[in-house]
């Protein structure tokens, strides 16, 4: 196969594969509530992923938070307490109670999405 043809074929497969990844390959049955959407915005504007990962994406100073809301040793209350008070390395962001709830709602949405394995 010629080089130019090889590149055209590879690129075409790439385009089709990307289209598939963008849509059916990543569909999810779990929906975000408005509260979770607000929480997601807070997550990004406060750069939480600088220290935490969600599905492996993010920095390494803090723990992975993908399943924090249902882990036996952690859970929603623990997460909220950490958000309200900070920790040794976790900064205190001085969130209002409502903001902390929104962030927990977002993390809970992440947790639910993580447990729904696509087939």
């Amino acid at each position: 196969m010629g080089k130019v043809l090889t590149i055209i074929v590879l690129f075409s497969i790439y385009v089709i594969y990307s289209g598939w990844v963008f849509s059916p390959g990543t569909s999810s049955g779990v929906r975000m509530t408005q509260k979770a959407i607000n929480g997601k915005n807070l997550w990004h504007s406060n750069n939480c992923q600088n220290c935490h990962q969600v599905f492996g994406l993010g920095g390494y100073m803090g723990p992975d938070l993908t399943t924090v809301t249902t882990d036996k040793s952690r859970g929603k209350l623990y997460a909220k307490a950490m958000l309200m008070n900070g920790g040794t390395r976790m900064p205190n962001f001085h969130f209002t109670e409502n903001q902390a709830d929104e962030l927990v709602a977002y993390l809970d949405y992440v947790n639910n999405a993580s447990t729904l394995q696509q087939q």
Partner: protein
């Protein structure tokens, strides 16, 4: 016939020099912020009010990525007229490119220092900045196309490599911003998968640009033009391209997207990098056989990149195996993989090209500093890298045992301390080389300005 690289052969080289200087400035700032970030692991309150870890990490990573892009761009501007055998198509576009790139670096750096983030991993600057990035990249692409005018059919492999790198950077920077659409943003599985896809392939794009410059330099050093046209070189190039397009899924093993993504990327990942090692080995054989060696210093850098490629290849392949990945993901082993590759491979290859361009302008003392700097970098990087892996292993074990994070962190501290200490030596090695090159480049830039206004300048060629 062997040739000394003749950096006076074109008058527009000053623009290439300026990008390289910009790259070194980014590198020096990046390693300074990296050092502070690593100290903040150990002393959580260090600079907490003014320059916290939330600021130092994005500053470090953003500037490190811009070191890579600015330097490879400068090297390409330097090589393009040489490859084409004619002047750069538009020096004006190149100047605008330089101005816009400097502007985006300034905006992001000031923004991060003030705590303004879009919150997207690795691309934390405000999304509108991307419009400027795309604008200058398009100017760069036009300059490349019009200067080199690549007729892909008969072109050597490095022209293919550059062309693909240029195009895929555009594709991936757009893809990385798809989250602006609710269709992506409102579904975390899609959002995270597409971010990993874009980031993973963007690394592939800059690798294509760097490998292109490395292959060009090696062609010149060995004088063996045929290697760039050989079938095996192209076979490896296409394997590299396949990896760029499809291997990113090894980052998403834990994302519950379709299992097909994992299967595709696992298979492709296993072929990873072996390709480049192979090419490099071939070039190296040619290099070593060279008796009339005119670029001994550049050769050292290429050989040291070889060793880092092998070491990182081993780690990358290991952590791409799903069974191993489930234990290593999210630990400092991933940081070792990221920095091992961006320092050991990318930075060393970029320094190899910079050395190739400026070797004949270095005085003896400069050469000695560069050799000492390279040695310091290599030894400290190895220990820095090993410390991260050790920290990652401890973290992985503690995570399996469901330990509280505040309980596991103290166990990591000894390794994070050694990471910081070796980081200091790494910084010293990189700084020694950077300042030596900056002196030479700025000196050469002045020299060439004289050249442009018509004073006679001796041209070194053999």
């Amino acid at each position: 016939m062997l040739q000394h690289y003749n950096s006076n052969s074109m008058k527009q080289h000053t623009i290439g020099y300026r990008f390289i200087v910009l790259g070194f400035i980014c590198l020096l700032l990046s390693i300074s912020f990296g050092l502070i970030a690593s100290l903040q692991y150990i002393f959580p309150n260090l600079l907490a009010d003014r320059l916290s870890f939330q600021q130092t990490r994005p500053l470090h990573v953003f500037l490190a990525v811009n070191w890579i892009f600015a330097c490879v761009t400068g090297i390409m501007y330097q090589y393009m007229p040489e490859v084409a055998g004619k002047q750069l198509y538009s020096p004006l576009f190149a100047k605008v490119h330089f101005g816009l790139m400097s502007l985006t670096i300034l905006i992001a750096t000031v923004g991060f220092s003030m705590g303004s983030f879009s919150g997207r991993e690795y691309l934390e600057f405000p999304p509108w900045v991307t419009i400027i990035i795309i604008a200058y990249w398009v100017l760069f692409c036009i300059n490349f196309l019009r200067t080199v005018n690549p007729k892909l059919k008969g072109a050597p492999v490095y022209i293919w490599s550059w062309s693909v790198g240029l195009i895929f950077f555009l594709i991936t920077i757009v893809e990385a911003h798809l989250w602006l659409l609710p269709f992506f943003n409102d579904n975390i599985i899609r959002d995270v998968t597409v971010q990993w896809k874009a980031n993973g392939s963007m690394v592939g794009a800059w690798n294509m640009l760097i490998y292109g410059t490395a292959m060009f330099a090696m062609e010149r050093i060995t004088g063996k033009k045929e290697i760039g046209h050989q079938k095996t070189s192209f076979a490896f190039f296409f394997l590299g391209l396949t990896n760029l397009m499809f291997n990113w899924g090894h980052h998403t093993y834990i994302v519950p997207a379709s299992p097909v993504v994992k299967e595709v990327s696992y298979i492709i990942s296993m072929t990873e990098l072996i390709l480049f090692v192979n090419i490099i080995m071939k070039w190296k054989k040619g290099l070593l056989r060279d008796a009339n060696d005119t670029n001994p210093l550049a050769k050292r850098f290429f050989m040291s990149a070889d060793r880092w490629i092998l070491l990182n290849l081993a780690l990358a392949i290991a952590i791409s195996v799903p069974y191993i990945n489930q234990y290593t993901h999210g630990t400092q082993i991933t940081v070792a993989h990221a920095m091992g590759a961006t320092i050991g491979i990318n930075t060393t290859l970029l320094l190899a090209s910079v050395t190739f361009i400026f070797e004949n302008k270095l005085k003896d003392i400069g050469k000695k500093i560069i050799i000492a700097g390279l040695r310091t970098m290599n030894v400290s990087l190895l220990l820095f890298w090993a410390s991260l892996i050790a920290a990652g292993i401890i973290r992985s074990i503690a995570t399996q045992q469901n330990e509280y994070f505040s309980v596991m962190t103290p166990k990591l501290l000894p390794y994070l301390r050694s990471f910081s200490v070796f980081g200091v030596f790494l910084v010293i090695g990189i700084m020694a080389m950077s300042f030596t090159y900056l002196r030479v480049i700025i000196g050469a830039d002045r020299h060439s300005v004289k050249d442009e206004i018509g004073q006679s300048v001796p041209v070194t060629s053999q």
